[in-house]
Amino acid sequence: MFPIISLTLATLLVGTLLTFVAGARARWVALATSIVFLFEASAMLLGFTGLPQFGSGGTGFAESESYAWIHLGWLTINYSVGLDGISLVLVLLTAFLQLATVIYSWEESRRPGAWFGLVLLTCLGCLGVFVALDILLFFLFWEAVLVPMFFLIAYWGGPRRRYAAMKFFVYTHVASVVMLVALFAMAFYSGAASFDFPDLYAATHGLAATTQVFLALALFFGFGVKFPIVPFHTWLPDAHVEAPTGGSVLLAGLLLKLGGYGLIRWVVELLPQGISLIAPLLFVIAMVSIVWGSVLSLSQRDLKRMVAYSSINHMGIVLLAIAVHSPVGLMAAVLLMFAHGIVSGLLFMVSGSVHHTYGTRDIPSVGGITSRTPMLATMIMVGSLASLGLPALISFPAEFTALLATWDRLAYWVVVPLVILVVTAAFYLWMMQRLLFGPAKGGPEVVHDLPWYEGAGMAILVALTVLYGILPALLVNVIVQSPVSGPFP
């Protein structure tokens, strides 16, 4: 079989290394790498014709590759990669966001080689997490994401960037090492033949319920901090506010998805009993995250901070849909992750552009954007409407199915996220009213509308928002090709 996944990883690796040494031409190398990556991701999508049978010799993953890596008798580790519908959708998201980010930050002038190299490296790490099918490779990429993001925040960030970068690192690193021990324990206590996902899958279902609960809790802590779940969410607003725009896009668009993906792949699929037993806890945390994220979001004046907190709210819905632990719920969770990746990426680009254009992100002190910079206003409009869940834009089908799945399990409790959705929608509308309409205020005398590269970066995401909003089946039909999220009942 053609090793498309390894080829893609190699493409990004080579592209990253070349970008680092390319100096002034770095952006061209990064753009070329991104375009090749997008082609490769499309090739994966076109070649994806469903999954081979799980068990009975089949790995259950498409395009899977496995090579011996470390064999010590007691420890068997292979380099294993593979795709199912869930990972494929997230790989596509990575490709889209990488391209959009590279284009959006086209004119980055502070050490462009390092900037574009680190952006590519972050995407490489995320891609690796999504395709890795063994514990070592998964953890390797999981950790590899931290280093470039740390530098993106620490060097290109805002005034409190060092504090924010450190906090980001502490929270996520501590969580991930705990997760690592839990992964070890899962492999050794279940007596799995190797650290490969298919071998774990064959062994972990036999674990005792109490062991599953302990492992699920430890892993949930590890993945939950990335989500982020309340009360481990405080790194997120700091990191977002201080991060440069491109960094925020990757942080919200990709890094948060790592937590959700990890939870589905390494907890829901491997420890079904454990996740069922801790589901009540997950529901509570999800509801608190939804409400608290929304409340915090409402009280912000800073546009970027507001978008950052709304991420906590949206990821809370993702957690809710995962905790429902039904095929529809998991499908909805993945769809929502994709949607949130695109929409929050767009919103962070928007707030970055507002800041560049008007010199501030303070919502009350800027007004009349529509009349002064119509392009930017359009982008704000699309992003906000998508985020509040307007039908025909991408978030709607995702949130709709998520709430549908929640209704199946929790019945009237679904009122909580529903009410919050309405409140959030109202707040977005008010934000738009203040920023977009009314008399011109704030910013310099003469404002220029979006430069072409910022516009083009956002246009990619807007196009995706509309495309998948109208035709969510394009994604749904892929997502359900997975052992857990499909087929539809």
Binding site: A68, L72, G73, L75, L136, E143, A144, Y155, R162, Y189
Partner: protein, 515 residues
């Protein structure tokens, strides 16, 4: 006695160097070159004995003589794990010797430096094949005496002399404790043979006496390995010694303490974990078996060592002291392997030692090189090095990332294997693994701080001119050593199997046959 050829080569090279000094040949390049050649030859012989195929022609130790259960009268035994440690020690010495070729050529005492380096290495390699406690302690003493002198060899440097004096006094104390412990063990069991000792824990003789003996040995050898609370000397000594010597102490010679722990404690510890409880000479273990106590004590010491090392490293403002504390914490990770005591944990700990040789020696060698460029001792003094010396800074960053356990470096994989071995042993060792990973997370901060200083902070206004050595003031030898370290960190970080596989089989043999 062809089997001792690697040791003979080391001794002969050292003697040649001392003789040349007597006849007036004192050029650093010549003496250093001879030392490097001797170390290379010795390393080749050891690798051949380990069964490294391309060097099979050099093999002097028949495969049939390796990994036998030693006789109860044996002084030494060739185990593949011991040979692996010999190779690791020789690698450490080689890196330091290679880098020291770039020391200022007017410097006096080249013969003392290289000669003592070889003698210390000789002591280390001999310790690795010991099968008798007294033989082991004597070998450790050889290392001790030659390293006291190494620390003080630049006789004009008061800081070095002070460090040497401290090192000597603490070392003498630790030797006294070790020998006292050995005498108690002899009193309890009537033997100093490690095989007899390892199978006897509490089963015969006077268990309480033996437990006291082991406790004293933990203290005495713990000084060598810088285990908390016997660590305090290490920071002052590493800080005061010439930095290349610190590279050897931290990266190489302190591991001799670990080898001693391996030989002394794996037997007793693995007795309860792996080996079926053996009856020695018709006497079978009785109720009071203190092996579990010993194991728990080692586990607690391991966690204490890594935690104290890391926390204190966080507080340091000087680069060398930070690296010294980090070295203490790394000793904790290695000790964890002994506390767990299974073959996987042994392999993991040995791999961690190898990784640490590259990371820590490499880091100190870079520090020595950077000091030669006029950069001060404080971490702050490294501001902007990333822009001024991108290659050197990248190499140092890689070593620090490896120490922090960031993926695609050997430091990541060695911890990965070590901690997974602890979880694999199950029981309370899972909590040792948790303590280990949390410590590893903690350690990231002080390494990340250096990265921040090098890459994010701006350069100081005045930059001293580098000395007239090649490679921008680094010198060929040092540049080669640093390049070797970087290659090893990345190559072993991507594909550890060629080294880890043989280490695992060596550890399997070691647990079965003992020292």
């Amino acid at each position: 006695m062809l089997a001792f050829l690697p040791e003979v080569v080391l001794l002969a090279t050292a003697l040649v160097i001392f003789l040349l000094d007597v006849v007036g040949e004192r050029r650093l390049e010549v003496l250093g070159g001879i030392a490097v050649a001797g170390l290379l030859a010795s390393l080749a012989l050891v690798l051949a004995d380990l069964g490294f195929a391309p060097l099979a022609a050099l093999r002097t130790l028949p495969a049939a003589d390796v990994d036998l259960i030693p006789a109860t009268s044996a002084l030494f035994a060739f185990t593949s794990l011991g040979l692996a440690f010999e190779a690791i020690f020789l690698t450490a010495a080689l890196l330091v010797a290679l880098a020291s070729l770039s020391r200022p050529s007017g410097e006096k005492g080249a013969a003392v430096f290289f000669g003592l380096l070889l003698i210390a290495t000789l002591g280390m390699t001999t310790a690795a094949i010991a099968a008798d406690l007294i033989f082991l302690l004597l070998a450790v003493e050889v290392v001790g005496i030659s390293t006291y002198l190494l620390v003080g060899y630049p006789r004009r440097d008061p800081r070095g002399l002070e460090a040497a004096m401290k090192f000597y006094i603490v070392g003498a104390l630790s030797t006294a404790l070790s020998f006292f412990g050995a005498s108690l063990l002899f009193g309890a069991y009537g033997s100093t043979n490690l095989v007899i000792l390892s199978q006897a824990t509490g089963s015969v003789g006077y268990p309480a006496l033996a437990l006291a003996g082991y406790a004293l040995l933990i203290a005495g050898l713990g000084f060598k390995l810088t285990i908390v609370p016997f660590h305090a000397w290490a920071v002052d000594v590493y800080d005061g010694a010439p930095t290349d010597v610190s590279a050897f102490l931290a990266g190489g010679s302190k591991k001799v303490g670990l080898v001693a722990f391996f030989l002394l404690f794996i037997g007793p510890v693995s007795l309860i974990v792996v080996r079926p409880v053996a009856c020695v000479g018709g006497v079978c273990p009785t109720a009071f078996d203190f092996a579990p106590t010993l194991q728990l004590a080692l586990g607690i010491l391991a966690v204490l060592t890594m935690t104290v090392g890391n926390v204190l490293a966080l507080l340091q403002r000087e680069m060398k002291r930070m690296l010294a504390y980090s070295s203490i914490s790394q000793a904790g990770y290695m000790l964890l392997g002994i506390a767990v005591g299974t073959a996987p944990a042994l392999a993991g700990a040995t791999f961690q030692v190898l990784a640490h040789v590259f990371m820590k020696s490499g880091a100190f060698l870079v520090v020595a090189g950077v000091a030669g460029l006029g950069v001060g001792p404080l971490i702050e003094d490294w501001r902007g090095l990333g822009q001024r010396r991108p290659v050197l800074a990248t190499a140092f960053a890689l070593m620090l990332l490896s120490l922090a356990g960031i993926p695609l470096t050997v430091g990541f994989l060695s911890k990965f294997v070590l901690f997974s071995a602890a979880v694999n042993a199950q029981g309370y060792f899972v909590w040792l693994a948790v303590a280990g990973v949390l410590n590893s997370a903690l350690s990231v901060f002080y390494y990340a701080r250096v990265l921040k200083v090098m890459y994010v902070d701006p350069s100081p206004a005045e930059i001293p001119a580098p000395p007239a050595l090649p490679f921008g003031g680094i010198g060929y030898g040092r540049a080669a050593a640093i390049a070797l370290v970087v290659i090893a960190i990345v190559a072993l970080g991507v594909d550890p199997q060629p080294v880890l596989g043989p280490l695992q089989s060596a550890a399997n043999h070691f647990v079965l046959t003992g020292p």
